[in-house]
Symmetry: C2
């Protein structure tokens, strides 16, 4: 496994590989756990939850598709499919846009607001138990800092 040839691309060292795998794994585990908890206790998928949070985040209680897609960093078509499904469950409603005939708003429904308000406290509790309680405040801050740095790096680098 000691491939010290001067090839164009050095493989990862054992330590690097361990770190990389741990990094990948923790996200998979975490998102699986949180999604399962959310689903079983609130009947919401992670996607549902994200949408509801984003829509309730604005005071008007409704957002243009465009803006919502940008907030969530989702493709428009994904959002469109997602909203269609959420409308069927009366979590949000679609409202026509007066200023632009092409446009539309996604608006929180009464039921949707009730659901997200019921779900949020538990969600926070789960985040605390799974993540914050496992690290010191300094470690968690450092994790955030490294994540942000990495995020910038990813935005900066072209891979095409």
């Amino acid at each position: 496994m000691n491939d010290t040839e001067p090839s164009a691309v050095p493989w990862l060292s054992a330590d690097e590989q361990r770190a990389w795998r741990a990094f990948v794994r923790v996200h998979l585990k975490l998102s699986a756990r949180m999604a399962a908890d959310l689903q079983s206790h609130s009947g919401l998928s992670s996607a549902d939850f994200e949408v509801l949070v984003a829509v309730t985040d604005v005071s008007e209680g409704r957002v243009r598709f465009q803006d919502l897609a940008k907030d969530l960093d989702w493709e428009q078509s994904r959002l469109s499919h997602q909203i269609r499904r959420m409308i069927k469950r009366d979590l949000v409603a679609r409202e026509e846009c007066e200023e632009d005939g092409r446009g539309a708003y996604v608006a929180i429904s009464e039921h949707g607001r009730a659901v997200i308000e019921a779900a949020a406290p538990r969600h926070v509790r789960v985040v605390r138990r799974l993540v914050l309680d496992g690290l010191t405040a300094e470690e968690f801050a450092e994790l955030g800092r490294l994540s942000a740095k990495l995020s910038d790096q990813i935005d900066r680098v072209e891979t095409a």
Copy 2:
């Protein structure tokens, strides 16, 4: 962000929230980027890639479904569907199991081996450019350490 209704939902402190969001976001970005790169340059999905890596990782070039599912931490049915699709594309083959009439092996195909060997170097390059190059060695090691610690925490905590 506008906070017209602050009290209904106990959220995280502003710093905690920033860290948490950065942590979640970086995973989403990273997996999206890597999946897109893999797909466009090798014609493989992340799932395909994982399977091929796992199968070529063993010297025999074939693994029992059970063991593979365990390695990948996948549900059996997910693996079954995935392998069916991969067989259709001649990336792997199914081999009967002599010792256990119920069992089966997933075996790497010639074509599958060629594909994964062609894909791997670029994959490593992308990991380096997106992740390793953005952090110092110490930072990366710390990220790995924190990830592992978090992973343990997640395994330890019940959320049911």
